[in-house]
Amino acid sequence: MTTLDPHSHAGTGSAARWMKYVHGHHWRTQTEEFDGCKLGFWLFLTTEVLLFGGIFCAYAIFRTLYPQAWAEGSHALNWKIGAFNTAVLLISSYTMAASIYSIQTNQQKRAQMNLIVTFICGLLFVGIKFALEYVPKWSGYFLVWDPALHHHTASIVEGKTALFGLFQFVDGYGGKRPGALFDHPFAVDPHVPLWWAVYYCGTAIHAAHVLIGMALIARVYFKSRKGDYGPTYYAGVEITGLYWHLVDLIWIFLFPLLYLVH
C-alpha cells in the first residue's frame, strides 16, 4: 500500500526507519495515505464478510429445509474443542490490539511479543482444528470424549486406540477420500452430508483465512524488528490487525451456529 523512498536506506543517522518513512508520491500527506489505506482495507473487509455471507446463507437455507439433519450434524461436533478454539482466537485478538497500541506508544519489544503471541494463538487454533477435529473424522480415530463416539458406540472397535488411549477407533469412519467422508454410514437423516459440506467449507475457508492472517502477522513482525513501524507510521500493523479481527469475528459467528445450536 505504500512506497518506501529508496533514499531512506541511505540515511546514516540513528533515526529509526519509521521516522524516515516517505509516503507515496501520489498522496498529498502521510495522513491522507493512511486514511486511504484504511478505507481501502475496510472495503476489502466488506468483501470478506460477503464472501462468508454465502456460507451463512447456505447454512440458513439448508437448516430451514432440513432441521433434523442440522441437529444430527451439530451433535456430532465436540463443542468443547470449539469453545477452546474460540477462547484462543479471542486472546489473540486482544494481543493483536495490544501490539497496535504498543507500536503507537513506541514500545517496540512489547509490540513484537504481542505479535508473537498472536501468531502462536493462530497456530494453536489451526493445529487444534486440524489435529483434533479434521483428522479424527478422516482417520476414524476420535478423541475419547468426543460426542461422536458416544453416538455410535456400536461401531467402536475395542482395543484399537492411538496416542496412549487418547484416540479411539470407530469403524466405518476413516480411510475414505474426502468426498465419501461427507456421507458417513452413521448418518440417519439423508441430508446430513449437506451439513458436513457446509461445515467443512465454512471452517476450511475460515482456516485458510487464519493462515493468511498468520502470514501477515509474520510479515509485520519481521518488518517491526527492522524498525519499520512507530508512532507516526504503523499502517501495516493496523491493517493486519483489522484483518485478524475479521477472522476472529467470522469464527464468533461460525462457532455457535455450528457447535452450539442444535
Partner: protein, 679 residues
C-alpha cells in the same frame, strides 16, 4: 520534479532498448500503462469472443437435420422391401402405417407404388419414403426419410433393409475435420462455442472493459490525481486478470466447457466427469472476480481521497460518478460469486453436494447465489458506459449536461436497486408472491435508467452537435440502449416472460443492452480519448463509416432475434424448425457485417498509431481535467497539481482552456466551402 524547464516525456516514451521497455511495462505501477495493457488485452479477448460468436452464427445458417438412408440389398419383392418399421437414429422404432406413409419409386418411368402393394424392386433403384402429403416423412421432428438405394454389390441373396444416418446442415464439426459427426457430437461442439463466447465476453471483456481500461487511465486524470490510490494493487489486479484469462484459455483450448457461461448446476457439476475443464473455467471466473474487486476498491478510495483541490463531489465528471458506482457494486457483489464458484469447485473436487440435487444439494440455491452477483454485475457492465455517454455527449455538443445531479444520483440509484432484482432470472422456480415482488422491483430499474436517457436527450437539445465518431457512437448508444431497455420490460412482466423466457427475445434484449450499450459506449470512449491516450488522431471518415457499418450490422443481427424469440425459437439450440431458417440467415449476415465494421475500426486504429496526425491537447474542446494534460499525458499526468475552478460541463460560462477551434476535425467540404465564401 517541478517547473516548466524540467521536461517530462510522455508516459509512452521509450525507456531504452526493447527488453528494458518490456520490463518497464511488465513492472509498471503507472495507471495509464496498466490501463493500456488492459485495453489491448480486452480488445484481444473481444476478438476471440467475437470469433466464437461468428462460429455460432454460421452453425445456425442451416438447421441441423438427421437423414436416415435406407439401403436395400438385393433384388427385393415389395412386401419384404416395404419396411413395416423404420429405426430412427436415436434407436427408436417407428411403425409405418399403411395409408399414412407412402413408399414411392423414383425410377425413370416414374412408377408410383403404394406401400403394401406387391412389387419387385430391382437392385440399384432408389425409393423415397413420403408422407401422405407427398413430403419427406418426418417423425418426432426428425426427417427420417431418405433414399432407398438397392445395393447389388453387397447383396445377400435374401435381401433386406439397412438404415444408416447422415447429418446435414452441420458446420462446426466439419471445421474440425470431423465429417461423420452425429447430431449429438455436433451439438456438443456448438454448446462449447456459445459457452466460450459467453464466458469470454462476460468475464474477460464486458465486466473489465470500461473500468479497467478507460477508467484506469482517465479516472485519476479526471480527478487531477497523479495515480490511483493503490498503484501496486492496480498492477496486481492486472496480473490477476492475466492469470484468470490463462485459466480460461487453457480450459477452452482443452476443448472447452459446455455449461453455458452461467455454469448452472447440474450441468457444471455433472458434465465432463473426472475432467478439470469446468473446474478450470469456474476457477478462472473466480480469479477474474478478484481482479474486478481490486479495481473497484482502488477506484472508490481514489475518488474519496485523491480529488484535486477545489473538486467537490458534484464537480466530478459523470464518468467518474459512474465508475465509482460500478466500483461499489464490484466490491459488494463479486465476493458472492466468489464463494459460489468456490463452493462449486469444492463440490466437484471433493465430491460433496451443495448444489447438485443428486447429492442432496439445491440447484436453485446456485441460481440465487449466481444471480445475486450476476445481476448487479450487469450494471457494472453498463454504468461506466453510461458515464462515457454523459461525458462524450456533453463535450461533442458543447453544452452543459442537463440534470447533472439527477444523472449522478441515478447511477447510485441503479447500483442500489441492482441488488434487489436478481430473482427475475428465476421467475419459474419461485413462489408466485416472490415472483411478483421481484417483478415489481425489476421495474424500479427503469426509473433511474430513463432519467439518464431523458437527461441525455435534453442535453442534445440546442447543443452544437459535432457528428464526430464518438458522437455517432453516442447516438447509436441512445438508439440501441433504448431498444434494449424497453424490451427488458416485457421480460420483467410475469405473464409475458412466461412466453419469452429462454428464447431469442432474451438473447436479443441483452445483446442490445450489453453490446448495443456497453460496447458502443466503449467505442465512443475509445474514439473520444484515443487522441489523449496515444497522442494521435484517427481517420474520422473511415471511423464514421465503420461505426455506421457496425450500427447496421448490429441491428440486422439482433433485431431479427426479437422476431425469432417471439415466435418461439429457444436460445442455445443448434437446430430449429425450417420456418426460422430465413431469420437465422439474416442474423448471420448481420454478424458478418459487424465483423467487417470492427475490422475497419481495427485498421483505423492501427493506421492512427503508425501514421496518425499528432493530437492536440484538447481536440474536442472538453472542460474536464484530462484535457489539461498533454496528449499523451506525462508520467505524472500534470506538471502541477491542477486546481479546479469550474464545473466539468460549464460550457455556458467557461471558455475551454487551451482550446483552439482549429483543433476540431472540420470536414474537408466545409473547409472548402468556407474558403470559397471567403473569396
Amino acid at each position: 520534479m517541478s517547473g516548466h524547464d524540467h521536461h517530462h516525456g510522455s508516459y509512452l516514451t521509450s525507456k531504452g532498448a526493447l527488453f528494458t521497455n518490456i520490463v518497464d511495462w511488465a513492472t509498471t505501477v503507472d495507471h495509464k500503462k496498466i490501463g493500456v495493457m488492459y485495453l489491448f488485452a480486452i480488445l484481444f479477448m473481444f476478438f476471440l469472443g467475437g470469433i466464437a460468436a461468428i462460429a455460432v452464427r454460421l452453425e445456425l445458417v442451416h438447421p441441423v437435420r438427421e437423414q436416415v438412408v435406407l439401403t436395400v440389398s438385393g433384388p427385393l419383392v415389395a412386401p419384404i422391401m416395404n419396411p413395416s418399421a423404420l429405426t430412427t437414429p436415436d434407436g427408436k422404432t417407428v411403425q409405418l402405417e399403411p395409408g399414412k406413409h407412402l413408399v414411392r419409386w423414383t425410377e425413370k418411368d416414374g412408377n408410383e407404388v403404394r406401400q403394401g402393394e406387391p412389387m419387385t424392386i430391382a437392385a440399384g433403384k432408389k425409393v423415397d419414403v413420403l408422407d401422405m402429403k407427398g413430403k419427406p416423412l418426418s417423425v418426432d421432428g426428425k426427417e427420417v426419410t431418405g433414399t432407398f438405394t438397392a445395393d447389388t454389390t453387397t447383396a445377400p441373396p435374401t435381401g433386406g433393409v439397412k438404415t444408416s444416418t447422415t447429418v446435414k446442415g452441420q458446420l462446426l464439426p466439419k471445421v474440425f475435420g470431423k465429417t461423420d459427426a452425429s447430431v449429438a457430437e455436433g451439438n456438443n461442439i456448438y454448446n462449447r462455442f456459445f459457452t466460450m463466447h459467453g464466458a469470454i465476453m462476460v468475464f474477460m471483456v464486458i465486466v473489465p472493459s470500461i473500468p479497467a481500461s478507460l477508467g484506469n487511465i482517465f479516472l485519476p486524470i479526471m480527478l487531477g490525481a497523479k495515480d490511483v490510490a493503490f498503484p501496486r494493487l492496480n498492477l496486481l489486479s492486472w496480473y490477476i486478470y492475466v492469470l484468470g484469462s490463462i485459466f480460461a484459455v487453457v480450459s477452452l483450448l482443452a476443448t472447452g466447457v459446455d455449461t453455458g457461461w452461467t455454469f448452472y448446476t447440474p450441468y457444471s457439476s455433472t458434465t465432463d466427469p473426472h475432467h478439470w475443464r469446468v473446474v478450470f473455467m469456474v476457477l478462472a471466473a473466480f480469479i477474474l472476480g478478484f481482479s474486478s474487486i481490486l479495481t473497484g476498491l482502488n477506484f472508490i478510495v481514489t475518488v474519496h481521497k485523491l480529488r484535486a483541490p477545489g473538486m467537490g463531489w458534484f464537480d466530478m465528471p459523470l464518468f467518474v460518478w459512474a465508475v465509482y458506482s460500478s466500483g461499489v457494486i464490484q466490491v459488494l457483489a463479486t465476493p458472492v460469486i466468489g464463494i459460489t464458484l468456490l463452493l462449486l469447485v469444492f463440490e466437484r473436487v471433493f465430491d460433496i453436494g451443495i448444489f447438485d440435487p443428486a447429492k442432496g444439494g439445491d440447484p436453485v440455491l446456485y441460481q440465487h447465489f449466481f444471480w445475486f452477483y450476476s445481476h448487479p454485475v450487469v450494471y457494472v457492465m453498463i454504468l461506466p458506459g453510461m458515464g462515457i455517454i454523459s461525458d462524450v455527449l456533453a463535450v461533442h455538443s458543447q453544452k452543459k449536461i442537463f440534470g447533472y445531479r439527477a444523472i449522478a444520483f441515478s447511477s447510485l440509484g441503479i447500483a442500489g436497486v441492482s441488488f434487489i432484482v436478481w430473482g427475475h432470472h428465476m421467475f419459474s422456480s419461485m413462489s408466485e408472491v416472490a415472483s411478483t415482488v421481484f417483478s415489481a422491483l425489476t421495474f424500479l430499474v427503469a426509473i433511474p435508467t430513463a432519467i439518464k436517457v431523458f437527461n441525455w436527450i435534453s442535453t442534445l437539445y440546442k447543443g452544437s452537435i459535432a457528428l464526430t465518431t464518438p458522437m455517432v457512437y453516442v447516438l447509436i448508444f441512445l438508439f440501441l440502449f433504448s431498444i434494449g431497455g424497453l424490451t427488458g420490460l416485457p421480460l420483467g412482466t410475469l405473464s409475458t416472460d412466461l412466453h419469452l423466457h429462454d428464447s431469442y427475445f432474451v438473447v436479443a434484449h441483452f445483446h442490445y443492452v450489453m453490446m448495443g450499450g456497453t460496447i458502443m459506449a466503449l467505442m465512443a470512449g475509445l474514439h473520444h480519448w484515443w487522441p489523449k491516450m496515444f497522442g494521435k488522431m484517427y481517420n474520422e471518415k473511415w471511423a464514421t463509416i465503420a461505426a455506421l457499418i457496425v450500427f447496421i450490422g448490429f441491428n440486422v443481427t439482433f433485431f431479427t432475434q426479437f422476431f425469432l424469440g417471439t415466435r418461439g425459437m429457444p436460445r442455445r439450440y443448434a437446430s430449429y424448425p425450417d420456418e426460422f431458417a430465413l431469420l437465422h440467415q439474416v442474423s448471420t449476415v448481420g454478424s458478418l457485417l459487424l465483423l467487417v465494421g470492427f475490422v475497419i475500426h481495427a485498421l483505423v486504429f492501427a493506421q492512427s498509431l503508425m501514421a496518425g496526425r499528432k493530437a492536440p491537447k484538447n481536440p474536442w474542446g472538453g472542460l474536464t481535467l484530462e484535457w489539461l494534460a498533454d496528449s499523451p499525458p506525462s508520467e505524472h499526468n500534470f506538471d502541477h497539481e491542477p486546481i479546479v475552478t469550474h464545473g466539468p460541463y460549464d460550457y455556458d460560462t467557461t471558455v475551454p482552456p487551451h482550446w483552439d477551434p482549429k483543433d476540431y476535425p472540420i470536414p474537408a467540404e466545409n473547409l472548402a466551402r468556407a474558403k470559397a465564401e471567403a473569396h
